[in-house]
């Protein structure tokens, strides 16, 4: 019977394939078993490197922190400390900045590192889109045996801060490259820190760093650091739980709060907590519509159930913010009045401001007689916050049109002020940039991807300029206080919750060091970590 023959064929094929599968599983497992003799640290991340372009890929640059040391770095308290530059100073008018180079740092291919490399790096970066401001303002660069001086056409009181993020690149490699952002290579890349980038492979989703043989400082424990990136969080969490990696790191983010409890049960991890200076906040369109009305903003700030919102979004790893916007872990933090959930107060403020529900349909009308309808435009990742805020506002008579848009549309709408409210986040860098204390987000003169540039209040702008013009710590402390008082009074943005950043680390490894800027991915951390035994 033909059918029997077909069945037999089926069976024999199935057996054959199953055997092949078993062989694969056993064989494959052996082929890829890790080499236990070399001391390797493995890190999982969600920051995917899309293209092996050293200067072009945004996420690739994140991992250059430990291989191509920047001039300066940040310590755990947010203070700027020495890195490639062992000391630095500015001229009194802050137009000339000098950095003295630490000779511990040497290129991994044996070439000596000189101040010429630093001079080259900064000038080279002036050509790139993301650091174009250098090209506009740097007029001259001079070097001595051990230092380099940059001369600008305008004063920069916070140049040290700006220079935190620029990895130093070797002149002898890059001077012959005409299109720096387009240059792709799988490695190795010459580095100058304790490590250098040995290889990057987008197909295996791995970046490997090796000890720099020419590093003259204290030797780190680990010979190799492997960065593994995943396209979805479930996969990275599974890998972490199984012990495939030792820790999880994600730029300016935390390990998903909801997944932490699983790790706690796993008992293989220390749960490292650090207060974050980044957080989510509600932004107003201060230039037109109801967002421009201070009373409206005050009412909104009372209408939000902060406790519930914080609980749902951070699962308790957070706290209720104050009106001062700036979180406690920032320098010169001032305790401002706390944000309080008081819907009755919100209703009273709205009524007093002229937003009355005359037709009793549950929605208030503006003094012009129109329905009080606000557009809350958000990106997908804030859908929970958006839903909750929309509900809270509706409860006090404000009709909310919740628009969830994809990233580029959000940039468009935000930059063209086509919204009333939005929810977005600050990153640690974002809070520190421009004139510090979150001013980068509101100052109307500066545009950027993540910033709102909505505040053109002259008092605010003058304050920002004052901060930018001085390095006097006493003055800065005073300005910081004024900024926070300004935020509390004018509410250009309302922080929704402050949070801790969670980093799970392998219990057997100790020495982790976390900074507000890059969490555990910093030079000090990698110098110190070692197995507990």
């Amino acid at each position: 019977m033909e059918i029997q023959k077909v069945k037999q064929k089926y069976i024999s094929w199935s057996i054959g394939l199953s055997l092949l599968l078993i062989l694969l599983v056993l064989g494959g497992g052996n082929v890829s078993a890790s080499d236990n003799e070399s001391k390797t640290l493995k890190i999982a991340t969600a920051n995917e490197i899309k293209s092996p372009s050293f200067l072009g890929d945004y996420n690739f640059e994140l991992f250059q922190t430990i291989s191509n040391s920047a001039l300066l770095q940040m310590d755990e308290n947010g203070n700027i400390i020495a890195n490639l530059a062992k000391s630095w100073f500015a001229s009194p008018d802050h137009t000339e900045w000098t950095f003295v180079i630490d000779d511990k740092y040497q290129w991994s291919d044996g070439t000596p590192l000189t101040p010429e490399d630093v001079a080259f790096t900064i000038n080279y970066r002036g050509q790139l889109a993301s650091s174009g401001w250098i090209g506009d303002t740097l007029v001259d660069t001079t070097t001595t045996d051990d230092s380099v001086t940059f001369i600008f056409n305008k004063p920069y009181s916070r140049l040290d801060f700006e220079f935190l993020s620029y990895s130093t690149i070797p002149k002898h490699i890059w001077e012959s490259v005409s299109d720096p952002e387009a240059k792709t290579s799988n490695g190795p890349y010459v580095g100058c820190g304790q490590y250098y980038i040995k290889s990057v492979d987008v197909n295996s989703a791995t970046l490997i760093l090796e000890k720099n043989p020419y590093w003259k400082g204290e030797e780190p424990y680990y010979d190799t650091i492997e960065i593994h990136w995943f396209s979805n969080d479930n996969a990275s969490s599974f890998a972490l739980e199984k012990g495939e990696v030792d820790t999880y790191w994600r730029y300016a983010s935390t390990y998903p709060y909801a997944a932490v409890s699983v790790l706690e049960q796993n008992n293989r991890f220390d749960i490292f907590q650090a207060p974050s200076i980044g957080f989510s906040f509600l932004g107003f369109n201060l230039l037109k519509g109801v967002g421009a009305d201070l009373e409206f903003r005050k009412a909104v700030s009372s209408a939000i159930n902060y406790e519930e919102l914080m609980q749902i979004t951070t699962l308790g790893y957070g706290s209720i913010p104050t009106k001062g916007f700036v979180p406690p872990s920032m320098p010169y933090y001032q305790e401002m009045p706390s944000l309080i959930y008081d819907p009755q107060a919100a209703e009273d403020i709205l009524t007093a401001a002229g937003y009355i529900d005359s037709d009793k349909n549950g929605i208030r009308e503006t003094p012009d007689g129109e329905e009080l309808l606000v557009n809350l435009v958000i990106r997908q990742e804030y859908s929970r916050e958006g839903k909750l805020v929309a509900e809270y506002l509706r409860d006090v008579g404000i009709q909310v049109n919740l628009k969830v848009v994809e990233v580029n549309t959000w940039y468009d709408l935000k930059d063209n002020y086509q919204y009333d409210l939005t929810i977005t986040r600050t990153t640690p860098w974002g809070m520190l940039m421009h004139a510090n204390w979150g001013t980068g987000y509101f100052d109307s003169r500066r545009t950027g991807q993540g910033v709102l540039h909505t505040d053109d209040n002259p008092a605010y702008l003058e304050l920002c300029d004052a901060i930018l013009a001085t390095t006097d710590t006493n003055l800065l402390e005073m300005y910081a206080q004024e900024i926070q008082e300004y935020y509390a009074e004018y509410l250009p943005g309302v922080a929704l919750y402050w949070k801790q950043d969670i980093t799970p680390t392998n219990k057997d490894i100790t020495g982790w060091y976390s900074t507000p800027f890059k969490g555990i991915l910093n030079e000090i951390s990698f110098m110190r970590i070692h197995p507990k035994t």
């Binding site: 969080d233 479930n234 969490s237 599974f238 739980e241 998903p256 909801a258 997944a259 409890s261 699983v262 519930e308 609980q311 749902i312 699962l315 997908q380 990742e381 859908s383 929970r384 958006g386 839903k387 909750l388 509900e391 919740l402 628009k403 969830v404 848009v405 994809e406 549309t409």
Partner: protein, 273 residues
């Protein structure tokens, strides 16, 4: 044909399934213990108060499941109806009128056939406002071509058959013939196509939420599943969060399929000429 007990049981099961979903879709408030916006504290495991636990926002999962039926089934069915509607019209006209119309319509069909559906849906969802309307329109507009093809083939086949020729002899108008004689014959052919479109619509809805391209304020089975994945429901082994909506999608398609096959059972005699 006297239906045996087996067939009667099959009909009863199908009817029950359809009945449950119809109730869930039309009067969810009666079955669901809580409203879709009520919150009770997140990530609770199943208990007597919440038989399927709560999601990350603290909403009762079982209540969500019931309330989600309406939108999910609506998206599925309306997309199907839209796709089949367009397909039938195009196929009928193409097969009946023939000639240049046939060429035009088939050319159109081929173009739509070639268009890669999922990328196009992603593009539309990324650039236009995501939501149920967009899904229905997109899926409906992209899925009609296979229906059109089979309808056209059937019309071509039936056009030359005896009963049609005699109807034309009698002088009945084309429209009358199309609707009274040919349409009934088409049902067995388009019904499986309808089911396919419905199923793929419900799944596409889930897939888009996973990619972050749907309206997160929607309450549907697809959004529930993707919520479970993006809010650590999978890692926390909360199978009671993502498995029930999955089963509902499967059973929902089963229910719609049953309606189709019920109908087919009655007409089988008609086409066995």
């Amino acid at each position: 044909m006297i239906p045996s007990i087996k067939i009667a049981r099959k009909y009863a099961l199908s009817a029950l399934l359809i009945g449950i979903f119809v109730i869930m879709a039309t009067i969810p408030g009666y079955i669901a213990p809580y409203g879709p916006s009520e919150r009770f504290g997140g990530y609770q495991t199943p208990s007597t108060a919440h038989i399927m636990g709560t999601d990350d926002m603290g909403r009762d999962i079982f209540s969500l499941l019931v309330h989600a039926a309406r939108l999910s089934l609506l998206i599925g069915v309306v997309s199907g109806v839209l796709a089949i509607g367009i397909g039938v019209i195009v196929g009928l006209l193409s097969g009946w009128l023939g000639g240049i119309w046939d060429d035009i319509f088939m050319g159109l069909t081929d173009t739509v056939l070639i268009l890669p559906k999922i990328p196009l849906i992603i593009v539309m969802a990324a650039y236009l406002e995501p939501g149920p309307k967009l899904l229905i329109v997109t899926l409906g507009l992209l899925s009609w071509e296979s229906g059109a093809r089979v309808v056209r083939a059937k019309v071509l086949q039936v056009r030359t058959m005896g009963f049609v020729l005699s109807a034309r002899c009698f002088g009945f108008s084309s429209a009358y013939i199309l609707s009274r004689e040919i349409l009934p014959v088409l049902f067995p052919v388009i019904v499986p196509k309808f089911v396919l479109v419905t199923a793929s619509a419900m799944i596409a809805e889930a897939s888009l939420s996973f990619l972050g391209l749907s309206d997160p304020t929607m309450i549907s089975w697809g959004v529930m599943i993707s919520d479970a994945f993006t809010h650590s429901g999978f890692i926390r082994h909360m199978w009671y969060w993502w498995l029930p909506p999955t089963l509902c999608i499967i059973l929902g398609v089963c229910a719609i399929t049953s309606i189709a096959f019920l109908y087919e059972g009655r007409t089988r005699e008609l086409i066995q000429l």
